[in-house]
Symmetry: C2
Subunit: 649 residues, 2 copies
């Protein structure tokens, strides 16, 4: 029975023998010139989005204008800007400003900086981003995770308490290099590097960081004075319970707990009714105002309730001269900045993509990176620390109906007014309220739903997720990050060293051959073993693939021996999924062919792709096994073996 023949009995009638020969042949596509080949490779790697498409066939003047617009998207969308959009942006900008002011003050503390630096970082970076960024919904400013990461890494280098001035200078240096890293990645179009942090690892890392941040807030929440500088859960718990007898302050706890309940209630209301999104958005500012008034009126600070005391009035002082370019600080700043910059990017790009997908517009990842980078470089010169897109504020921005990056400008202006006039009013704001606000903000980062889904879909991903999570909680933020990256890489390496292979069988009444593990009804062809290799054959897996195919063969031969079936005489390798092969791969095929020859088994290839068939010819392997042993489909290959097996029976 020949399966291939069946196929040709179509409505068009029986094909002539010429057609049949034509159809069976595996085409070798026209050979590309070397330069062409390299060019298309480079293009696909670095410019998959074809960013120069719109520049094609334009005059030089027009190209220049398009180039300027590409760098400053505001010139693009600014042309259609109108009053109705402006209204949306103003409302959104005011909402996120009310949310960001208390958050900024708290986040600055996570980075071991005085509170005003959080506000500084919500002034300059959003303005720069509004000019250069392409996301319409992202809200720029300091974020919890990056603040914590930066604080934890810098603290191990310089003690912020005893050496505040030097510490601050190192912060700016790190911020500068974070910006340089981001810009470089964008300009060199290496944006894909951040894709190496898997979704699962990010979920775990964010969850762990959120819990670590929340635990850090117990200091402010419980009014503890002597708190550990470490971030792992064990040290923190020792700090917390070691001070229980005489270190907690009940007035502080009452204020913190009350307002935390208020914030959670506001969040609950916002979740129940999407129209009331502004309730949780302004709740933090209301808490700050109420609690400040309360402390001022009751003079609770005299009862041991810690207060902010002093926020420097006035806008950002310049900090260009504070950047450290001496030997040792340069290296530290570079290292810490690069890590913080990458993490910040990961967060920003994820946010940008999420909202772009919701409103269905395109974001150019590499362009975003350049915008982020420039904004942080400028930030480092104007007393800002690393800013990026904030999950919580971006969501509020989106729900409040922002239309463009103008909402960031509005927010920035509110922040600058705050810095210029209102900061003295924060004197009596209790630290406890900032802690409550941060706890309320970060618990959203613990995404149990996502973790559950990861568990359901991919167990290995779950291991990566939990590894990052536990690494952050039990060791340190950096350790968690390292674990996340390592597990992500391990997965990639596993993928390329241990690709899958499958035995194929014929699905009844079709000429389709499928994995017999998936389709138990598929039947093997007697005397023929059909193996599909599910990956490009490269040096990292060529040896494994060769040995795996031989093992399939040995297993099958044992089976046929037991059941007195035909001896295997043909091994068909289905190569559809084999997109590429390198010199090691060709070697492996040659060795496989040698082993098969010794066992008197003929190697047959089915459907090699364009790149592979090229290389099979270039290496003369095609001649080695015989051109007539390469077929378009498995069905054709099987039909070519069938008559021979008949004869042997």
């Amino acid at each position: 029975m020949s399966s291939a023949e069946e196929k040709f009995e179509t409505k068009e009638g029986t094909p002539s023998s010429e057609d049949e020969r034509y159809i069976h042949k595996v085409s070798v596509p026209p050979k590309q010139k070397l330069f062409q080949e390299i060019k298309s490779g480079v293009k696909e790697t670095f410019f998959p989005d074809d960013p120069l498409r719109s520049f094609k066939d334009q005059t030089n003047r027009r190209k220049f204008i398009l180039g300027i617009r590409a760098v400053f998207p505001i010139l693009e969308w600014g042309r259609d800007y109108n009053i109705s959009k402006f209204r949306g942006d103003v409302i959104a900008g005011l909402t996120i400003a009310s949310l960001c002011i208390p958050q900024d003050i708290g986040y600055a503390k996570l980075a071991n900086l005085p509170p005003e630096y959080g506000l500084y970082s919500s002034f300059v970076p959003p303005l720069i981003y509004a000019l250069m960024g392409s996301s319409r919904d992202i809200a720029i400013g300091p974020v919890a995770v990056v603040s914590l990461l930066l604080g934890a890494m810098l603290q191990t280098e310089i003690d912020s308490a005893t050496n505040a001035e030097e510490y601050r200078r190192l912060v700016f240096t790190a911020t500068f290099f974070a910006g340089i890293t981001q810009t470089t990645l964008g300009v060199l179009r290496l944006g894909f590097l951040i894709d190496f942090l898997s979704h699962a690892a990010i979920v775990g890392f964010m969850g762990g960081a959120a819990i670590t941040i929340a635990l850090q807030q117990l200091k402010g929440f419980l009014g503890i004075k002597n708190f550990t500088k470490k971030t792992d859960i064990i040290s923190v718990m020792q700090s917390v319970f070691g001070t229980m007898q005489h270190g907690w302050n009940w007035q502080t706890i009452v204020i913190a707990a009350t307002f935390l309940c208020f914030l959670l209630l506001a969040k609950f209301i916002g979740k129940r009714n999407k129209k009331l999104f502004w309730v949780p958005a302004i709740a933090p500012l209301i808490s700050v105002v109420l609690s400040t008034l309360l402390v001022y009126l009751t003079r609770a600070d005299k009862q041991g309730v810690a207060i902010v005391k002093h926020i420097k009035k006035g806008i950002n002082p310049p900090s260009v001269k504070d950047l450290y370019f001496s030997d040792q600080h340069l290296l530290k700043g570079l290292k810490i900045g690069a890590v913080a910059g990458m993490v910040a990017l990961t967060e920003a790009v994820a946010i940008g993509r999420t909202f772009a997908a919701m409103k269905d517009y395109q974001i150019d990842g590499n362009k975003e990176m350049v915008a982020m980078g420039v904004m942080n470089v400028v930030g480092s010169m104007t007393s800002c620390y690393v800013a990026t897109g904030s999950f919580s504020r971006s969501a509020v921005n989106y729900m409040a109906g922002c239309q463009t990056a103008v909402s960031n400008i509005v927010m920035s202006l509110v922040v600058v007014l705050t810095l210029a006039f209102i900061t003295p009013l924060f004197k009596y704001t209790p630290n406890a309220i900032l802690s409550a606000i941060i706890i309320n903000a970060v618990i959203n980062l613990v995404d149990l739903h996502a973790a559950k889904l990861i568990w359901k879909i991919d167990k290995f991903d779950f291991v990566a997720c939990m590894g990052a999570f536990l690494g952050v909680i039990f060791f340190s933020v950096e350790m968690g990050l390292l674990i996340a990256v390592s597990i992500s890489f391990a997965k990639i390496l596993l993928q390329v060293t241990r690709p899958r292979t499958a035995l194929l069988g014929k699905i009844p009444r079709t000429t389709v051959y499928r994995n017999i593990h998936q389709y138990p009804e598929a039947t093997k062809v007697p005397g023929v073993l059909i193996v599909r290799v599910d990956s490009a054959i490269y040096f990292s897996n060529s040896n494994y693939i060769k040995e795996r195919i031989l093992r399939w063969l040995v297993d099958e031969e044992e089976l046929t021996k037991e059941s007195y079936q035909n001896k295997i005489q043909f091994l068909i390798v289905e190569m559809s999924p084999v997109t590429d092969i390198d010199t090691s791969g060709i070697h492996a095929l040659e060795e496989l062919n040698g082993s098969l020859k010794k066992r008197e088994i003929q190697l047959i290839l089915a459907n090699p792709g364009p790149v592979v068939i090229h290389k099979l010819h270039a290496s003369e392997f095609a001649d080695l096994i015989g051109q007539d042993h390469i077929f378009l489909t498995v069905a054709d290959a099987v039909s070519s073996c069938s008559p021979k097996i008949m004869n042997d029976v």
Copy 2:
């Protein structure tokens, strides 16, 4: 016209509607238990060769015996050992001994060690390997590349000239850790790690190392006294030509050149007539004997011909107490040992595999690593430095008709007799002759033919090859190695971030859909875009794949607009090559589906594999696009769209 219908008009007649439904469905294989899933994953990763297969269904006593035999393969093959095999082994052993003695003396110099250490390393390690190794053809001992690598890396830590004692101790420490590294890799079954050095990178690295070694020999060859300690070609050339006026010794050059010609002639004879393989094999020893006599008789050493002078008599002294376990030396030894151990392994495993393939027996890579590791650990305690399999001597061993590892034992005994009695006779051996022997040995490592083939097959591989080659020659051995590893990794990363995708078309008169780039005769289906994704969809490429598919769509829509064709209404993603998908991949599909919905295009999947279909169900993505939009083949998928498109026209 419905393609799927065609397929059912087979010899078996028109199928009933029940059959049709049955055939179209994509099977979801029975869900594996979590434990089962993890178990099979671990097994495939670490035990792809199923090493415990023979232990199945055996009594405990039998299992124990099998276990002992697995560790000491000599107990396995020793049982069938007979006198005819012994004859082959003795001849081969004597031949490789005559080859190894002069080589060892020269290689020890590459490692900056006194000559006797080369001989020591040809005594103990081959004995251990004979007990534990599973290759029958490999010849164990010091090799040129590892000697050079070890010498170069250790020299940067401790100067061997001024601090010989400390240097020697660090050599043993590094050897110890090389052995530990090898054993660990074998025991943890991480043998696949050495597969990460690609064939191309090895060819380049070996070629570069060979040229570097040959250049180093110019010192002995030209009789130069003050020679650079650096290994890069520029320093060496400066050394060579800087001393041309008064540093060269013509008597030395005459001796060296004469015997090099003799060696090359012998090699030429051996190549022309395979039966005369022993001519090049014993030529080095003959050269040593003749040149030693010549120098002794003419007292050429008084004319400035450098001679060996002194080789310590007697067998290996113990060196357990010389191992350094103090803080700083431990780390240096560990680092250098790990690198040298990995490189030694790469060479040994490549040799083992090559000869195993030629004689068609199996080699267990992980077991080999344990054998190599134990042999080097024992070696480090008996004054040996890192030993491994030698390309040139293994080839001679093979051609001399070795049958088992007994040839290594024979060689080892000859070496020990040499150490015990003959070393004083080497006193007048000119260094020049050792240089000639090494030059003659290493030029074989420059594999121009392989480099040419690599160029023909894969340009990227060629870049890796040349990178390693030039790195070794112009910078240092370590730098070359680093370049080789980096380029190999870059290739893997590119593979997983930028997988290929292809547009499919229908090949005339079949129901087969193939890449229209490879098969220009394939025709697109109006209103339907068929894209094949050629890789597992993971976090590292999910975003790229999503955007690439959308770009295919945009390009296609522009084309249809120009030619007034049907608007695209269906996007079929052929998933046959997609062997796995993770949570990021599912997200990307969801986003793709969202974008398509906005454009009123229906997403259809064809032939998802067992793992993928599972995850599509687990994540409920299958329900999102509709179960009836997942088909077994592209043909089925197309036939389901066709009637709808007809209606719209």
